[in-house]
Structure formats: structure tokens, C-alpha cells
Amino acid sequence: MRFGIAVFPGTWSDRDCAHAVGLDGHQAVMLWHKDRELHGVDCVILPGGFSYGDYLRCGAVARFAPLMESVADFARRGGLVWGICNGFQILCEAHLLPGALLRNASLQFRCAPAWLRVDTTESPFTASCRVGDVLQIPVSHGEGRYVADQATLDQLEREERVLFRYTRPDGGPVGAASPNGSLRDIAGIVNHDGNVLGMMPHPERACEPLLGSADGMRLFRSVARSMEREGTAAGVG
């Protein structure tokens, strides 16, 4: 299948995502921020980085890129959109996902291994996981503290839209070991229709045992499998 990978000025995990996608023989199609063309991809990844330097607010400028109009459109028609780190921030700024990502509670950048508990598998992004699985996937960000108002948080939980939460390696509550102080330990959420995912951790950095973990590969495989099951997103792309 074909993964589209957005490239904004300041994006840096575009190459890492392309590498990860290639490990299973999928095709990576780089999508330039000034273009509107999605080249018929099956899933759009908004990768990590510091788009436009993350000046003002992370993702604030990137959301206005021409490419984002097509991505929003694609999402509205049910296409899979996967925001990782800066991509999550962009999706929130674009109001494709609720809430916002603020500076880490420590006020410091954090690059460290993190453990994510899978809270639902009713999603194309986690279809190959089991509820309660703990995935080791690293974080690397300065502004990943997820906040939203109570009502939004309650709604996210009610609708089982929290896909990942930070936990301890054994699946227990992360407590003070949270990398960023996110409300309710939220690490990744989906939109109402379940086709748009935003997550702060970097699955593309956890796709090979040589680099310390291959758990991120399970998310790429989930996406690939659900796309195969549904046929390619012909009606969408």
C-alpha cells in the first residue's frame, strides 16, 4: 500500500517514516506542503519535526499549508490520517482533533523510551494489537502535554477515542513518570469517526529490534491490514 508522508519546512521524521514504511515493502510518497495533490495514497502521515520552527505555537503555521486543505478533505471523506508528534500538534491546531498540546510539565524537552497501553483495538491503527498491550515506543518532544476541557475529555473516554495512554512498563499508572504531564495520561486520540489519529510518541523509531524496539511496527501493520481488509481507499484518495 501507499503511505503519503507530508513534508513541511522543518519536518524531520519524514525520512524516518519513509524508512519504517519501506521495511514491510510499502511505498512512501512524499507530499510537499505547497502541493495539494495526494497522489492517491491510502494513508497520510503527518510526521514529527518542528514545522516552521514551531515558532508561535507548534503546528500553528503548518495547518494553513495548501497541503493541509487536501488532507482535511481527505480526512472528511474517511481517509486515514496519522499525526505523529508535530503531526498531532498540527491536527489539533487544524481542529481535526480536539484539545491542544502544551509545553511539557517539566518545561524541558524529553527524549526517552515510553510505554503506551493500548486502550482500544476498534481502530484501524491498533487492529493488530490487543487491549491492554503495552508498547514500547519512544517520545521526543518539548510540547506534548495534552489538554482539553473536562467535557471533551469525558467524551473522548466515553467514545473510546483514547487509543494510547502513557503507563509504566508493567502497564501500571505512569504517575510522576509521565513524559509530559498530559491530562489523563493521554498519548494518542482519534477523531469522532476514528480515521484521524494523533499521537505524541514516535512509532517509526520503534520498528527494528536493532534500535531497541519493534513495537511501533505493530501500528504500521495494523494500518496495512485494515486497508487490505477494506480494499484500498479508492473512494477516498
Binding site: L56, V61, C92, L102, L107
Partner: protein, 93 residues
């Protein structure tokens, strides 16, 4: 006409402001025991070309609505004044 505009963007009171807490603690550690609270926001200074003060005010308001603040977490305040003149204030949020 040329106007100078100052925009102050602040976190909503309900949002936790760790940066403000650090400033607060830092000040107290330095012996400023009279400080009761501190919150940190952003300050943006713009120079804009507009027909008159009202339209300068309007266009900067739009800039805030579209880009400068994130409505999910932030409020904003605007001051506009003709370059060289005296300020005029407005708080649309």
C-alpha cells in the same frame, strides 16, 4: 496609515501554567516574597498598514482569530495606535 499594534496572548485561567509557576518560585527564591502569582504569556508587536485606526483594530483582531491565538487554550488582548500616537485599547475576548 501605519499603526503599531501590541497583542498579548495569555493562557486561559483554567489551564495549568507550569512556566508561571517556575517564575513564581524563582522570584520567591530570589527573596521577592511579596509575589502572589505569576502567569506567562506571549507578546506580539506588529506594524500594520491600514486606512484608519478602526480598520487596523479590525485586521489585528482577525490575525488573532486566525493565527495568533489558539482558541482552545488562549485569550488575547489588542492595543492599536497610530505610529507615534497614543494607545487605544480593546479586549474582544
Amino acid at each position: 496609515m501605519r499603526f503599531s499594534s501590541e497583542v498579548v496572548v495569555t493562557l486561559r485561567p483554567s489551564i495549568n501554567d507550569p512556566q508561571g509557576l517556575v517564575v513564581h518560585d524563582g522570584l520567591r527564591q530570589l527573596g521577592f516574597t511579596g509575589v502572589r502569582s505569576a502567569r506567562v504569556g506571549k507578546y506580539i508587536e506588529l506594524e500594520v498598514e491600514a486606512a484608519d485606526e478602526a480598520s487596523a483594530q479590525a485586521v489585528v483582531t482577525q490575525m488573532c482569530e486566525k493565527l495568533l491565538r489558539n482558541p482552545v487554550i488562549e485569550d488575547y488582548r489588542i492595543t492599536v495606535r497610530p505610529l507615534g500616537g497614543a494607545p487605544s485599547s480593546g479586549s474582544p475576548t
